[in-house]
Amino acid sequence: MKPDSASAGSHLTQDQIAEYLYGDAAPELAAHVAACPECGEECDAVYRTLQLLRNWEAPELAPGYESAVWQKLAASLPQQRRAFRFRRPNAVWTAAAALAAMIVVAISLQFAGSRVQEPPADTAQASDAGQRILSVAVTDHIERTMAVLSPLVNAEPQHPARFTDVSVEQNTVEDLLAENRLYRQTAVQDKDRNTAALLDEIGQVLVELEHSPAKLSGPQAHDLQQRLADSSLLSKMKGFVSSNPSPGENGARVIKL
């Protein structure tokens, strides 16, 4: 079996092979597979695995299954239509409202300041102010995410039979994830690729954590730690925070979500 990383010299990595077999790869990869016996063999092996999985079907359902589904469903539908339950405000909308409010405040401040000191404000300045505020909000978000992830990364190795309780972190993760999606989307719209890429990586880890069991087994906790270490995610997050310091650190106004 080939190594997982790109250190395999001129041969394709496992990721490239998967990409090739799903038809998502660049044409050069196909040319390489055709020319390289070793990669061709590995592709065959992965292909056989995927074919084996392709044959994996659910147990056969009895005739009339569809009618049985409908009988049960029909009994529930009217109740479901009348059902009403209170939901707490969606974290995405909370974050969106806060972000929008911050940008409005920033633009207003910029505009008010420019009326006193300078000629009429131009949109580029307002946009810069919006960008700075976004950067403050993202920095704050990343700091809070680091506070959740750091204890997990720095936890002592557990015995395989012991479990690490992450239920407390999971309570926070839902909101962080909602914010993360919003900020990532904004960064993509602003064509801020670096921030979007970092938020994408953070999002992936948060989704994993959100959908993890509340108690991680030793191997699961180790897997998470290893992935965080391999991706240097915390270092990247620290790098972002240090290059985008909170305004409070240099005496300016701090705006928190």
């Binding site: 079996m1 997982d4 496992q14 990721d15 998967a18 990409e19 799903y22 998502d24 092996a45 992965v46 056989r48 695995t49 995927l50 084996l52 999985l53 392709r54 044959n55 994996w56 079907e57 659910a58 147990p59 359902l61 299954y65 569809e66 009618s67 589904v69 409908w70 049960k72 469903l73 029909a74 529930s76 539908l77 479901q80 239509r81 395989p160 039979a161 479990f163 994830l177 999606r181 990532r184 979007a196 890429a197 994408d200 990586e201 999002g203 992936q204 989704v207 994993e208 959100e210 959908h211 993890s212 069991p213 509340a214 108690k215 087994s217 030793g218 191997p219 699961q220």
Partner: protein, 188 residues
């Protein structure tokens, strides 16, 4: 001629419940199949079928006919499966083995005769165990790509992550499955 899904959706939105029955009956087997592959459990898959159609009925106004109705349904089913797997903590089970050797050792040490390893209950069992080794997100991404032919973009949207993250979840799943099923694939 069979009425199209978007036409049936329109009828449901105009208050025709019979049209929803036709939709449910048309798609229930494929949603069951998806639910089973996501959870590896028949009861959970049946639960997923019920909940998926209930949610679809409640949110039918949100369906936009530019995507296929089945893709929209599968997305609902995948999201519910994620919630379900998280709440049931099913994925802890595979980590609780304390026999030291694990199922892979059993497969590796068994007689690799091709006849004995014909597609059978044992192979199904091994595939299900290999699938259980995946994280919930990896499993969801893989099932949606491999069995439902979702695009990377659609998987990212279903999981709430970017395309890169979705792609890497699939890659990790393929790597793990390749590793876990290697003895089986070599022997067949």
């Amino acid at each position: 001629m069979e009425e199209s899904d978007p036409a049936l959706v329109d009828r449901v939105l105009n208050g025709d419940r019979d049209a929803f029955q036709m939709l449910a009956e048309r798609h229930s087997r494929s949603v069951f199949q998806l639910g089973y592959r996501m959870t590896g459990n028949q009861e959970d898959a049946e639960d997923i079928v019920q909940e998926t159609f209930l949610r679809a009925f409640r949110h039918l106004k949100r369906y936009e006919s530019r995507s296929s109705f089945s893709t929209w349904l599968y997305r609902i089913a995948a999201n519910y499966s994620l919630d379900l797997m998280r709440s049931r903590r099913r994925f802890v089970d595979c980590e609780r083995r304390d026999d030291g050797a694990g199922w892979l050792a059993d497969v590796a040490s068994s007689d690799p005769s091709a006849h004995q390893l014909a597609y059978s209950g044992q192979i199904r069992d091994n595939i299900e165990k290999a699938m259980n080794e995946l994280t919930v997100v990896e499993r969801t991404a893989f099932v949606l790509r491999h069995y439902q032919n979702f695009s990377i973009e659609q998987i990212g949207a279903a999981l709430g992550v970017g395309e890169n993250a979705a792609k890497h979840s699939i890659f990790r799943a393929v790597r793990k499955l390749r590793r876990a099923l290697e003895p089986l694939v070599t022997a067949v």
